[in-house]
Every structure is written in structure tokens, then in C-alpha cells.
Symmetry: D2
Subunit: 150 residues, 4 copies
């Protein structure tokens, strides 16, 4: 039964190449880096780069998420015109478990990191729903980075 | 910004009435009691009563789950014939985040409690998929217990 | 970086022998069984057997705890005389992160299971403080069960 | 029993004033900003500013921690000379539950954010041990920011 401690980790993020974030989940050329997964608790931490005008599809956060905006302008929860926030440089974000987000639009080139607990439900561009978890995220990342390495 | 501690709780479970678990998620008359939700982390704790021969529909645990079997015989992960376990009285269960379960069959009247973190994805009897979270569980429970109270 | 899913588990608890819970943390012959640890999140799940008249030392729950009382009578949060509860058979307990408990007295032979997240701080009988975590709990359990196996 | 969703949040961090991090836990003028607490799960998220030559006292992380280094040079887990890492700009850190850190030295002015789950145990400069939790952190932050507001 004995179980070992989890492993500490360190990622020099600027030395990790960007990969394409799935087209199903956005328009406008969003890139991502998967920084960490915690399989036991279903944590996953992602750095996003979203060009000006890019749009993330509607989604639900099934667990809490914490994030940091490094640069740019992102319409958090629809933006200030509809009760949300315009997230900019040095903005800390907390999304509650169960948060439902409509399309998320970038008003500038935006870079932010997000630690998510549990899966996202995405509404794809064809209207169907799909779940993205630490596990499918990791599978995609492995596939993308191996392909690149090959 | 100040946030208060969460509230302690105590439920005398044998004084809580059973409610019908949704037909979409099972056949055979499964009952449930919702004991606790933790909205911040998407925890929810459920007591199930599953008559002999009842079947839970296929589902995915998107976060870890811990459970205790009080009585009965439940084919955990398909049962021992396919690499799973026959869970009986005084059985402790741990399901990992991402665990995919096919139909779960009861060989005897079975009572067990399950603490789940994050949502379940269910395959309904019509083949479609639906997510059950602490939040939809709570909404259903409120509706069922108020209806009963009325 | 690839990380595997956590392992599912099943423990037939009535086939696990009781071990002595540390004298520093109680008086009156409390026994325990360590059922599960989740190193990544610092979860640990313990079954306790506390004879009538036994007393758990004062302690702080640094994370939330959920429990189930199988039998007996335990003065939860000091008992009903001081605003707490007398926990009995079929009682479900939720303790919030940060809950501080004074001495916990058993009015009957009491068996309960407790899933704890994060460590406990105990006040030992000599007045000093010590932390018990999933890790020190696991170390003690390994030591006790190996000793028994030898 | 009904419980509401947790609240979303957004903090424009550059508009929050730095406060002094407790002298007991460091030398050299470390400052902090408390960005978020999640009482239910004992999460707390802190931005640190540590001048060159400052030293954080030895401590234990009782739950996992994730962090991001914005600038500087921090000897993570003792630094590369003893098997650790020199954390620099764009470094992502993951500390496992139970990680024990000796003195943490800053080789340059260093700014980093850390999301911690569960409490820290600090060894104070007088050799005694003390626990810092989301709750004591929040109490200190309230006291410091109210004092400033007065």
C-alpha cells in the first residue's frame, strides 16, 4: 500500500515551444503550453497565448481555476459591459467551480496562465459538447510535442 | 476580501428520507441521499441504495472518489470476472480521477456511500451523455425534498 | 513529463487488523486502520475504534474532513452541552478546514471512519504540539503492520 | 443545506500595496500580497517580493504548491549545487505535499507567486515551530491592510 511523495518539478517555460490549441475550442490561433498535471486530483496548468481578436469557445469550469494575466486584454466573464472584467497585465483571476463562460474574446494579444482543477466542458464550433480533462490535455500535449521532436 | 471558515456539519442520515435517483442514470430502483456538498471544490457525498439486480449506467469519475460499502454485493469495475472487484460489506473503495466504469451491477441489495470530487459523466440509456455535478445534484435534491415537504 | 492515472483501490476492511493509535494523541486504548493515502493531495482515510471513555487529545484539522459513525457515541465538537453534537450510529460528519477540537470523549464504544485532507496538529499529553500528516501516518502504519507481519 | 457557488474574483495586483512578510519567517525585507483564499479547501495564493540576499526560513509545505517566477533568482530546494534548481524569470514551480525546504536564498531581487494548498510549518529564527495557514495569513493581511487604511 505504501505510496511515495509526489515529485517536485520545475519548468523553464520560455524554453518550451508553443503548440496549437485545438481548433474545436477557439478561433484565431490560440497557442498553449501544458506546464503540469496532477493525475490524483485532476489538476492541470496551462499557459495560453491568444492573439488579438481570438475567441475561446463557451465552456464550463467544473472545478476552481486560478490564473495570472501577463499581458494583453481578455474579456473575463464577457467583459465589463456585461458584468465581467477586462483582464489586463498583472491581473489575478479566480473562477469558481461551476463557472459558465460564454465566448471569451481577446482585445489585445494576451498571455495568461491558468491552473484548473477538474475538467472543462467545451461547446465546440459545431455546437456539440466535449470534455477536456487533465488526461486528454496530457495526451494531446504528448502527441504534439513528440510529433515536433520527430 | 475577508472570507469566513466553512461551516461544520452533522447529518443523522437514518432520519433523512430516500429519494429516487434519476432514471437516466440507472435501472432497477436506485435511491439516494445527498449528504454534503462543498461548492468551492466541487465535492459531493451521496448515500446510495441499490436493489438486487439494479444497474448503474456507464460513467466516468472526473475526480477521485472514496466510498464505503455497508451491505450487499456490487460489481466494482465490472466485477472480479473482468479484473474488477466484488465489493461487499466493510469494503472501502477508491476510484481514481478519470476512472471509466461500464455498467455497474448489484448482485444483492447494496448500500454504499461515495464521496466524489468533481463531476460524473453519465451515458444515459438513450446513448447520450450528460454531466452530473455537485450543483445539479444539489438542485435535484432540493427539488425532491421540497416536493416531499409540500 | 507524462504522468499516469492514479491507481484504483479496494480494501476489505474487516480483514485488516487493528493497530494501536499513538498514546501521545489519546488515552483509553484507541485503535486505528489506515485505509488510504493520496500523497499528491495529502488525503488520508482512517478507521478508528475508540472504547467507551477513551479521549482524543485536542487537535486542529488543517483541511476538511468527512466521516461516518458506524456505532457508538462520540462528543463531536465537545458534545451537545457546549454547542457540538453527540455523534451516533449513521451520523455523517463534516469538519471544516481549520476546525479546532478540544478533547473528544467517547460515551460508548465508537467506530468511525474519517477522510482527512491535510495534516492534523495534535496537543500531546505533555502539552507540546506535533503534526500528523498522511506521510507520518503512513510511516507509522507501515512500521506497525510490518512488525506484526514479522 | 443548500449551498451557493463560490464567488469569482479578479484582483488588479499592481494596484495592491505590498505589506511586510513576518520577520519570524525571513530575513532581508520580504514583502507579500495575499491574492486569494479558499477557506473550504485551505488554498491561499501569495505574491512575494524578496530582495537580493533575503532568506526565507526553513519550512514544510503540507500540501502541494504551484508557483511562477516573474523575475530574479531564487534557490529552489537549496539551489542547483545541492540538487535543487535556480529559479529564474518564467520559471514554473511545483512543490509536492510534504516538501521540506531549508533556508531559501535569493541571489537577485525576486518576485514570484505561489498558490499553496494547506498550511506551512515554519522554523522561526528562534528555533521554534509555527504553522501558517490560509486563516492566519488572512488575519495578518486584514490587520496590515486595515492599519494602512486607517
Amino acid at each position: 500500500m505504501f505510496k511515495a511523495k509526489a515529485q517536485d518539478d520545475y519548468v523553464q517555460v520560455d524554453q518550451v515551444d508553443w503548440q496549437d490549441f485545438p481548433e474545436d475550442f477557439h478561433s484565431g490561433g490560440v497557442k498553449w503550453k501544458l506546464l503540469h498535471v496532477s493525475p490524483e486530483m485532476a489538476f492541470w496548468t496551462v499557459l495560453f497565448y491568444c492573439p488579438k481578436g481570438s475567441v475561446l469557445q463557451p465552456h464550463i469550469h467544473h472545478g476552481p481555476a486560478e490564473g495570472w494575466i501577463f499581458d494583453g486584454a481578455i474579456q473575463v466573464r464577457g467583459g465589463p459591459e456585461v458584468g465581467g472584467v477586462l483582464g489586463i497585465k498583472d491581473g489575478f483571476i479566480y473562477e469558481a467551480a461551476g463557472a459558465e463562460h460564454d465566448e471569451t474574446v481577446m482585445r489585445e494579444d494576451t498571455t495568461f496562465v491558468l491552473q484548473m482543477i477538474g475538467p472543462l466542458s467545451w461547446v465546440k464550433k459545431d455546437g456539440s459538447h466535449v470534455i477536456q480533462s487533465w488526461e486528454t490535455a496530457q495526451e494531446l500535449w504528448e502527441q504534439q510535442t513528440q510529433k515536433q521532436a520527430a
